[in-house]
């Protein structure tokens, strides 16, 4: 949809897998940081009349 590859990750984590959740979250954050600021899909002040 135009969201750059790397910004969206899917993973299967059970509610019992706290450590896995932390690992995945760290990993994703690292990758997204490396991509720099997003260009699209950013909520700004509402464009309304």
């Amino acid at each position: 949809m135009g969201i750059e590859p790397g910004r969206l990750h899917f993973s299967w984590i059970s509610s019992a897998e706290a450590t896995k959740y932390v690992d995945v979250a760290r990993e994703v954050a690292k990758e997204v940081k490396a991509l720099g600021p997003a260009k699209h899909f950013i909520k700004k002040r509402a464009e309304v009349a």
């Binding site: 135009g2 750059e4 990750h9 993973s11 260009k39 699209h40 909520k43 309304v48």
Partner: protein
């Protein structure tokens, strides 16, 4: 088509007489051409209301959610697949249903017909097998039905019901060698910037009436994420980013579940081709997991199973 109508009425009548159902859900002829209306009847005297033709594009499975009575229902290919999905997702149980299967030759794309007659007002439509005739005040045109099928029907490979208790006619030939995902492949070829612009453009007329969501049998959550106010996930104004959020998330919520019945696209008052969102996910489901939604009661839904030894490396 007329044989179908006769058969549907007879079957419904019989079901009431034999006390096999409490209600029967089908379509009745609408008050406008190309616009049939879902109808629920509750006794044999009403069976003559029932109708079937190529304008039955709303998905009847939508009307089954959490019903508690015994229901007779007509179902063509895609509707039957949504019924399967409904059963596996516990929205209705198989033994409540008596499914009258309809081999389907596709639905007419009312917008394409309107375009063909240059948006002149159509006052009547009549079907003759593979052709249909539309009439207006000072015109009359006959078209080949196959040239005016809904876009989803053009690429449908499950026209025959996958689940039924009785069929109104022998199965129709399935379409083979259709390039179901031609449009998706084209979009996949774009770079992210182009893709973003493409999807922004197709939804730019959206008025957030949610007809697409509400016409879809998959969207049965008691409170949709867009309506949730505590926490609030999406802004409710006509801001384009909020509108995009709605569309992207709606599509994700249909992943591995969408049958490409086309109801969403059919109902949109401004003609947004929002199937472009869901079709990509359907394609991924098929390519990555050999999964097509709603084909059998014997398998759990795609995103409802997990194997630790999954061969795909993006799931860890």
């Amino acid at each position: 088509m007329l044989e179908y109508v006769e058969k549907i009425r007879k079957t419904a009548g019989k079901l009431f007489e034999e006390d096999k159902v409490d209600v029967f859900i089908g379509y009745k002829k609408g008050s406008l051409p190309m616009m049939n209306q879902p109808v629920l009847i509750s006794n044999a005297d009403q069976v003559d209301l029932l109708h079937w033709d190529s304008n039955c594009g709303l998905n009847l499975c939508n009307y089954l959610t959490k019903r508690t009575d015994r229901i007779g229902i007509v179902a063509n290919g895609c509707n039957s697949r949504n019924i399967v999905t409904h059963i596996t997702e516990n929205q209705i149980s198989r033994d409540q249903l008596y499914i009258v299967g309809i081999p389907c030759k596709g639905m007419i794309d009312h917008r394409a017909v309107q375009r063909a007659v240059k948006q002149k007002e159509i006052l009547a439509i009549e079907e003759q097998g593979n052709t249909f005739t539309v009439k207006g005040k000072d015109f009359e045109d006959t078209f080949n039905k196959n040239d005016y099928l809904q876009r989803n029907c053009l690429v449908c490979t499950h026209r025959n019901p996958v689940i039924f208790d009785e069929m109104v006619a022998p199965p129709v030939e399935e379409q083979i060698e259709v390039d179901t995902y031609k449009d998706v492949k084209q979009i996949e070829g774009m770079d992210p910037e182009k893709k973003w612009n493409f999807f922004t453009r197709i939804i730019d007329k959206c008025i957030r009436c949610y007809a697409c969501r509400n016409a879809c049998p998959l969207c049965y959550c008691p409170t949709c994420f867009v309506d949730e106010s505590n926490p609030q996930w999406v802004g409710k104004s006509s801001d384009p980013i909020d509108t995009m959020t709605f569309h992207i998330l709606r599509a994700y919520h249909c992943a591995g579940r969408c049958t490409d019945c086309g109801a969403c696209e059919r109902v949109c008052p401004v003609g947004i081709p929002m199937r472009q969102f869901t079709k990509k996910l359907n394609k991924d489901a098929q390519e990555l997991f050999s999964w097509e939604a709603g084909l059998t009661l014997d398998q759990r839904p795609l995103l409802d199973v997990f194997q630790p030894d999954d061969y795909n490396d993006f799931i860890r």
